[in-house]
Symmetry: C2
Subunit: 243 residues, 2 copies
DNA sequence: TGAATATTTTTGGCATACCAAATACCAGAA
DNA sequence: TTCTGGTATTTGGTATGCCAAAAATATTCA
């Protein structure tokens, strides 16, 4: 069946062979609204005000220039993600996580990253592991992380994401990214990262070394303890912000 | 402010004290549809047929006796869960996971349960840990698990869920339950559980013992390896079912 | 007869209108 | 002034109708 069509009209097929990649399915308003709202929620500082942050369907639909229907579908999606919660006849409130939830999420993250490390020791290529050092090539004894916090913080997150990607497990990548999205806005987390920059770099390098040495147990342990350390920091120093 | 109201009109307040429990918020059609569709999807055997399973909005709305609007919102939610995928102008297809995805999910599960075990060794009460044995009290040398597979399988799942609950981390509980929902339908998983019943029980008991001994590292390792064993089984014996 | 083409049907996307519950607001009574 | 009742408004929930793209079907022409 298929070969007949292929060999049929060469001149005509020629233009069909050109990079037609099933063009952008022109994302629907629903998805556009979802992305827009998600970005807006992640951008705002949820923990800045004592009053709960509310969303209004009609206002949003007017704001984004679409009807309420796609907006409502987008909100249903965000609710599944755990970013908002709609209360019938009351409104849509942006979810604020408690300190305990944040700590729990970081622990889950530690578990997943630890598993990623384990997998990496058995499957990743040497060169890919070594490449992880590049994220920190701009830091050293002459250029301390704690003196360039913003820059180091970005390298830090990039490193963790690259690390997990090396596991070649899309599930682990997706789950940890999800967690990161929920946790990023928590102020104490950022502070925790800053306070820990001094010990952070050596720990990262130790993890890389264990991975290169294919020391499964050690890599797993180091990765776990590193992130678990952040959890402990937040648990100890973080204060409960409004309920 | 508050005490004044309390001491004001006793006779009137008397009737207000009657069990008024903020009646059931009567779940919306959207949520009812979500639950109904989710259950239907989980109940059906996705991997039984080569052809993709499709859903039809209009058919569903007629079937459930509601309009398309709540149906569409429910489907948007299910899509976030990863149970279905809607293709514009094509239809809504029930997602079928590949063997690799299933294996990855089981590995993530292993990571999370391992972390739960770790937490349990430091926080759970002795009696709660010991109570885990009850799930298997009906099995022993005189009544082997492999001779009562169905019964043991249920006890097995109940044990794992109870174990994770002991961590007192709602995040871990939710994440593992999610994974379980996605993985349960995969036939090779069930077969794997059956083939492994013989070694399963001793491994479970070993985990419980490590927990009771508050041996963090050991409990963590045993919990991890136990579930990782299932992942390996599926990876080795499971066959790719229709792409 | 077969393939290109026109037409009908199907299907998800979106806008709009209306409903009912919850709330906010306001006027009148104590 | 304060409390009570009632009314107007707000807000999420749902039903309907129409649109356009894609697929399925019918039709026409060589």
């Amino acid at each position: 069946m298929s070969e007949r069509k292929q060999t049929k009209a060469p001149p005509v097929m020629a233009e069909a062979d050109i990079a037609i990649v099933r063009i952008a399915p022109e994302t629907s308003f629903k998805n556009k609204a979802y992305e827009a709202l998600k970005e807006a929620i992640l951008k705002m500082d949820i923990y800045a005000t004592p009053e709960p942050v509310m969303l209004d369907e009609r206002a949003l639909s007017e704001r984004l220039g679409v009807s309420r229907t796609p907006i409502r579908e987008a909100i249903a999606m965000l609710e599944q993600d755990g970013f908002v919660k709609t209360v019938p006849r009351r409104g849509i409130v942006v979810v604020r996580r408690t300190k305990a939830e944040i700590v729990d999420m970081i622990r889950a993250w530690a578990a997943l990253e630890s598993m990623a490390a384990r997998l990496i020791t058995t499957t990743a290529r040497k060169k890919d592991i070594t490449a992880l050092r590049d994220f920190f090539k701009d830091f050293g004894k002459d250029r301390l992380p704690q003196d360039h916090i913003e820059e180091y913080s970005k390298a830090n997150i990039a490193f963790h994401q690259a690390l997990i990607s090396l596991s070649e497990s899309q599930v682990l990548v997706d789950m940890t990214n999800d967690i990161l999205l929920h946790v990023r806005g928590y102020r104490q987390l950022t502070i925790g990262r800053k306070d820990r920059t001094a010990t952070s770099l050596p720990e990262h390098l130790a993890i890389i070394e264990a991975l290169e040495a294919r020391d499964t147990e050690l890599a797993e342990k180091l990765a776990r303890d590193h992130t678990l350390g952040l959890a402990t920091y937040v648990e100890t120093h973080g204060q409960e912000l409004f309920s």
